[in-house]
């Protein structure tokens, strides 16, 4: 059940390349949410009882167990995120409403998570809660422009240590010198080589529109059914 919550910004992390993480402290406990759900953030003032102002959608990157702090991570892409970059500072107050969305990873089948850039935030709450007894295999391909923008790599590594069911490949677009990642973009040739049986997994996609479009078309061309491809896409 979505609720509107007044929040204070407690921390802003500048990851470089105009990518930021923002930590929001709700005045009262945030409503319950599930991994993969998202929130709406408004920059303009809102008076309870009035109409909700213009807002943008961000995956909730923090774990559902902690309803005292909400984390989002965003890349500056348009007018709204440009405003966020200039206006959001520690102590700033904003309204959010949450939770929304049904981007839930089903334990009914093995999962292949394809995360590009800040799209990883659609998976971080799931990964943070991944337990050793999770009944299915999880394959994560996590790509970013440069190694520094693999922001949630520590969280992913922790999840790997907890669960032997999680298999991860890191990919970096603009740097080919590292040894702990694969250069280039997430692509289906690599997915097909990495997964033991790529035809029987469910694919979960979150990332930039171009990545989603390319991978969705590619998966359809490889015979994947519509219900095997779940996309975290917003307008």
């Amino acid at each position: 059940m979505p609720q509107k919550v007044h929040c204070t910004i407690t921390q802003v992390i500048d990851h470089g390349e105009r990518v930021y993480s923002v930590f929001l402290k709700p005045d009262s406990l945030a409503p319950r949410f599930r991994p993969g759900q998202f929130l709406h953030l408004a920059l303009d003032p809102y008076t309870p009882g009035d109409f909700w102002p213009e807002s943008r959608v961000f995956s909730i990157a923090s774990a559902p167990e902690d309803r005292n702090i909400l984390r989002i991570t965003y890349a500056v892409k348009g007018q709204f995120t440009t405003r966020m970059e200039s206006e959001i500072q520690v102590g700033h107050q904003v309204w959010v409403k949450l939770p929304y969305g049904e981007f839930a990873i089903s334990p009914e089948s093995d999962a292949c998570l394809l995360a590009g850039g800040t799209g990883i935030t659609a998976f971080t709450a799931f990964l943070a809660g991944l337990q050793p007894d999770y009944p299915r295999g999880v394959h994560l391909l996590y790509g970013a422009r440069c190694p520094e923008l693999l922001i949630f790599r520590p969280l992913v590594e922790e999840a790997c240590q907890r669960s032997s069911h999680l298999h991860v490949l890191y990919m970096v677009e603009q740097d080919s010198n590292g040894t702990d990642y694969i250069p280039g973009r997430i692509n289906l040739d690599l997915v097909w080589k990495s997964l033991p049986d790529p035809l029987v997994v469910t694919y979960y996609l979150a990332g930039p529109p171009e990545m989603l479009r390319t991978l969705t078309q590619g998966l359809a061309a490889r015979g994947m059914q519509q219900n095997q491809v779940i996309i975290d896409a917003w307008e």
Partner: protein, 440 residues
């Protein structure tokens, strides 16, 4: 402070004064004022919330509805609470939700059987008929007025798909048996919890056992918002289906006055509609409009803050009336809780023993003449009512106890508006009757 905010503060202060003048100090006058079977119990906060909401003039569900739904879900520890405009609407939404095509093979279909009882309120059963399901009636125990567990088991047939019953008068039905049978036979369970807000079974709140549950906020119930009800569920899928059925059957789940909360308003494919057809006008169910106004929720939110106290006072009043009437157990069958349960009592149910020197009518007429309200146990045997006589149904065994309820059972109030002065008066009226006094 801006002028409008200042005016609002002044108005709400005046509302508090108005409450003090109009409602705060009313004294009960024995034999003059009614002892109601139920009613609104409120203080200034309900009026303040109501006026505050009206000053928002949003009218449809908004901030108070949001807060109520969140707090109500928290009370149950569930993730979905959905306000509707009555407990009966809640039953309609909940039962219709179980027919959703989105449930695949498990959906209820016309002709599927649903085990229930005939001794109760009609709108527990009416939505089954409206959805062309077949109610299968079992008899109830006298004294707790809930389904006889062995009869539930006996009622199961290859067509059985659900068990849908009320925790009548606040008394939890045998949830051990019902949940065991549901598991064994893959049945849906819907708890009509309208009479039982705050009741517990093995320490767990009723309404949290089944797939769905319903609650009523009519003034006779544990908390009120005038007209109102809720559907609660732990299932996100059932919650979303219920929301769709409540909100015209639409697929979109934006609240009134909101747009594109899914972020996909113009980029989805539904049926044979053009790609990107506005999600606000895509319909995935044959639905209704059963929503509340924010004014109702505003009153409900103030009431919710009093719920624990209300439950305690209902239990205390029940215990006092029980002690008061215990000397008359040879004439009156007094109510009892089912094993392992802790009812949040809706009322104090009395059945007149057979072959007494007096009838139910003798007693209720005497009580009413002395300003003590009585009510029958709702419809008694539903199947004896004109609307239900010809419905498609099945009866397992007989409904002998249900018929007894129809003829010899009634209840009086235990609600928190009844205080010790009223209870003393109640006691004196019963004593006079038991000594032989009658209405001419």
């Amino acid at each position: 402070m801006q002028r409008d905010a200042q005016l609002r503060t002044e108005i709400l202060e005046l509302v508090r004064d108005y409450y003090q003048q109009r409602y705060a100090s009313r004294e009960f006058r024995p034999g003059v004022d009614l002892i109601h079977y139920a009613g609104r119990v409120f203080d200034a906060q309900e009026l303040v919330n109501l006026v505050d909401s009206s000053l928002d003039f949003f009218l449809t569900a908004n901030r108070y509805s949001e807060s109520f739904e969140a707090d109500f879900a928290d009370f149950f520890g569930l993730s979905n609470s959905l306000l509707v405009n009555s407990g009966s609407s809640a039953n309609l939404v909940a039962i219709t939700s179980l027919t959703s095509p989105q449930l695949g093979d498990r959906r209820l279909r016309p002709g599927d059987e649903v085990i229930t009882v005939a001794a109760g309120f009609p709108t527990t059963v009416a939505p089954m008929v409206q959805n062309r399901l077949v109610p299968v009636f079992v008899d109830v125990n006298l004294s707790d007025y809930t389904a006889i567990p062995s009869m539930i088991e006996e009622a199961i047939s290859p067509k059985t798909r659900a068990i849908i019953m009320a925790h009548t008068m606040g008394v939890p039905f045998d949830l051990d048996t019902v949940m065991r049978l549901a598991k064994e036979h893959n049945l849906w369970v819907m708890e009509d919890n309208c009479d039982a807000l705050g009741s517990r079974y093995r320490g767990q709140l009723t309404g949290t056992f089944g797939d769905l549950a319903t609650v009523s906020f009519y003034p006779a119930h544990h908390v009120t918002m005038g007209e109102g009800g809720a559907v609660i569920t732990a299932s996100d899928m059932l919650g979303r289906i219920a929301r769709s059925i409540r909100d015209w059957g639409r697929d979109c789940y934006c609240a009134g006055g909101e747009n594109n909360t899914c972020g996909k308003r113009f980029s989805q494919q539904f049926g044979t509609l053009p790609y990107g057809y506005d999600h606000k006008y895509v319909y995935s169910h044959i639905g209704y409009n059963l929503k509340v106004t924010d004014m109702q929720a505003a009153v409900g939110l103030a009431q919710l803050g009093k719920l624990e106290d209300f439950i305690a006072r209902r239990k205390a009043n029940f215990d006092k009336i029980y002690a008061m009437l215990k000397p008359y157990e040879e004439q009156l069958l007094l109510p009892h809780a089912t094993p392992n349960s802790e009812p949040s009592w809706f009322g104090f149910v009395i059945t007149i023993h057979k072959n007494n020197a007096f009838t139910r009518s003798d007693l209720t007429r005497f009580l009413e003449a002395n300003h003590i309200e009585t009510r029958n146990l709702f419809a008694g045997n539903l199947l004896r009512h004109p609307a239900f006589m010809n419905i498609e149904h099945r009866v397992v065994g007989d409904l002998a106890n249900t018929d007894t309820i129809t003829e010899r059972t009634f209840f009086i109030g235990v609600y928190p508006g009844i205080d010790d002065i009223q209870l003393d008066y109640l006691n004196s009226v019963f004593t006079r009757f038991m000594k032989g006094e009658r209405v001419n």
